[in-house]
Amino acid sequence: MRVLSEATGLGVSVQGLTHIYAEHGNPLVVLDQLDLALRPAEHLAVTGRSGAGKSTLLAVLGGLERPQSGSVLVGDVDLARLDGDELAAYRRDLVGFVFQHYGLLGNLTALENIELAMTFTGLRTGPRRRRARELLDAVGLAERADHRPNALSGGEAQRVAIARALANQPRLVLADEPTGNLDDENTAHVLDLLASLPAQLGCTLVVVTHNHVVAARAARRCLLEHGRLVAVP
């Protein structure tokens, strides 16, 4: 995959991150003084039981949620200091998301879904379409360019979602249960694709999963328990 050859990963430094949800007036602490340090191009898998706060951690790292307390530095970007438009620009330019439910827009084709990510960068149609085709080709779905998501298998849809996540040459890729809806064969295919990113493209990769097979593919593994990360050997 040469389409992202110039990207370099970002280091991540999280210190004292606390995140609390108010459930019917009762505070629910999901992240409690959490610390995390990631080197550029590192591949981390975060495991934990359902509701442990894995997705919340990912949402904060990706700028989908603001850190309530503590500091979150991605490269030299302090996420707590960004306003709404700056957070949108951070998500657009530095982060690539891969969701369990793929997050493809049903009214757009596979090609258009990938293009959509580049629309917000202001890239013109021609280069945008060219790059979307290169990415589809890179994930082995060039012939499915004009198919809509409901005409794709789960594995194909997730590969399109990975291609879209890579569209703007992200330096941090965040995957939330990327194989949660896939069978074994597609899981292996998608994992191969994701695992190749840090080595081939140099981007930092954080995968959240409760699947130990998926976690085993990461260079580093942590368990999220009681709001904090515990290293897993």
């Binding site: 949402a59 709404g84 998500r91 439910h101 990510a117 569209a167």
Partner: protein, 426 residues
């Protein structure tokens, strides 16, 4: 993307567009019909001529009646070309059409028209014959009920008014029956030597039946025909009462709002004037109230349609929370999301507005056809149902703007959804 989103939820979009279509159709049809009715009513008041028309008679103004629509004229006064030029030069005057009127003895056709109530030919009668430049008939209060106006400069063609039909005991619904018949017209002249009146008789073909407010009289003819008859009559008039070259003028002001000003100026020149100024203003006020009421009904329909758009878009926002979250996750700003929903709303409004305005125009054309059928049966001139450009453009643009406003709340709600929605409900 907005188009695709609409297309994906086609059923709901069709229903929403339909609501806007019905509302826009109702509003535009009401406005077109109201506008046509307004034209018709005002046209009746001015007998088909311009509303800014003023009749000037060859008489001095009566000082006590200058502010009334139809004042009683004062003493006869010569209205010649110099006076016409003076009036033409007044500020606020758009054009001046000269009128000549002279008495004629009218001899209806003998034998009488087939089907006339009595079998005996009607008696001859004396009436005024009015000469106008028929090439300028568009500037005069003349409505053709049947046939056409005499050709300009013709010496053998005349038009008659509905009162001629009454002399023949024909209902006005049968106006077309006199078109093409022949009439004899005798200009009288008093020969003082033997104190007898002799006539100069001519035959003319009736080419049309008209309703007119130019002058009293049954016969409208090209000005040359009437001038010849007038000269014959004037030669035997020892009093010189018929010496005025023009019996009247029809003056058109530059807009109905300047009629009063022009009438006052003509009074200053020294001639009596009349115009349905006060009547038109009163009727205009009533018609304006009717238009406001009709517009209100249409606007209520449009507001209901706008609420439909709001409801449909709010439902779309609820259904697309995850999609909106994904858009934000891949870099869309709040204003990008807002724009997408506003474009959707505007497109729904545009489509609905365009369809509705077209439908409204169609409905008003249909109503116009029905009304015209009725008017023709009654022997009245038909109305032209015209859709003003402002109604057509306003119907489409107004619907789009209303939809845009209706889409504001859903768009704002979508823009404020947290990006976390991309990962599902928390």
């Amino acid at each position: 993307m907005a188009t695709r989103s609409i297309g994906r939820r086609l059923g709901r979009a069709v229903l929403t567009v339909l609501a806007v279509t019905l509302a826009a159709a109702l509003l535009s049809a009401l406005l077109i019909v109201a506008g046509t009715a307004r034209t018709r009513v005002l046209s009746q008041l001015s007998k088909g001529g311009p509303l800014a028309g003023i009749q000037v008679v060859a008489a001095a103004p009566d000082p006590g009646q200058v502010d009334t629509d139809n004042p009683r004229p004062g003493q006869p006064r010569v209205l010649d070309e110099a006076a016409r030029q003076r009036i033409r030069a007044l500020t606020g005057v758009r054009s001046v059409v000269a009128l000549i009127s002279t008495p004629v003895r009218v001899l209806p056709p003998d034998p009488p028209l087939r089907g006339a109530p009595s079998g005996t030919p009607p008696d001859p009668f004396t009436q005024q014959m009015t000469g106008v430049d028929t090439a300028k008939s568009g500037q005069l209060p003349i409505t053709v009920v049947s046939g056409r106006l005499p050709a300009p400069h013709s010496l053998v063609e005349v038009a008659v008014t509905e009162s001629y039909l009454r002399h023949l005991q024909l209902p006005k619904q049968q106006a077309s029956r006199v078109v093409g018949t022949e009439v004899e017209l005798g200009a009288p002249r008093l020969f003082t030597g033997d104190d007898r009146v002799r006539g100069r008789w001519t035959r003319a073909i009736i080419v049309g039946v008209v309703a007119q407010g130019v002058a009293s009289g049954d016969v409208i003819a090209p000005i040359e025909q009437v001038r010849t008859a007038q000269a014959w009559t004037a030669a035997g008039d020892p009093t010189g009462d018929t010496a005025s070259p023009y019996s009247g003028l029809f003056v058109i002001a530059k807009g109905i709002s300047r009629v009063g000003e022009v009438r006052a100026a003509i009074t200053q020149v020294g001639y009596s004037t009349s115009a349905p100024e006060n009547l038109v203003a009163t009727v205009q006020r009533y018609l304006h109230v009717v238009e406001i009421v009709l517009s209100g009904i249409g606007l209520i329909a449009l507001v209901i349609a706008a609420l439909g758009i709001t409801n449909a878009l709010l439902a779309a926002v609820r259904e697309r929370r995850n999609e909106i979250g994904v858009l934000k996750a891949i870099g869309a700003r709040d204003r990008d999301v807002r724009r997408i929903f506003l474009i959707e709303a505007t497109l729904l409004g545009l489509w609905g507005g365009a369809l509705g305005t077209a439908a409204g125009f169609g409905i008003s054309e249909l109503m116009g056809a029905i009304v015209n059928h009725y008017l023709r049966q009654q022997g009245l001139a038909a109305v032209h149902v015209g859709a003003p450009v402002a109604v057509l453009v306003g119907g489409v643009a107004g619907s789009a703007v209303l939809a845009l406003v209706a889409g504001t709340v859903p768009a704002q709600r979508a823009a404020r959804l947290p990006a976390r929605q991309a990962m599902g409900e928390t």
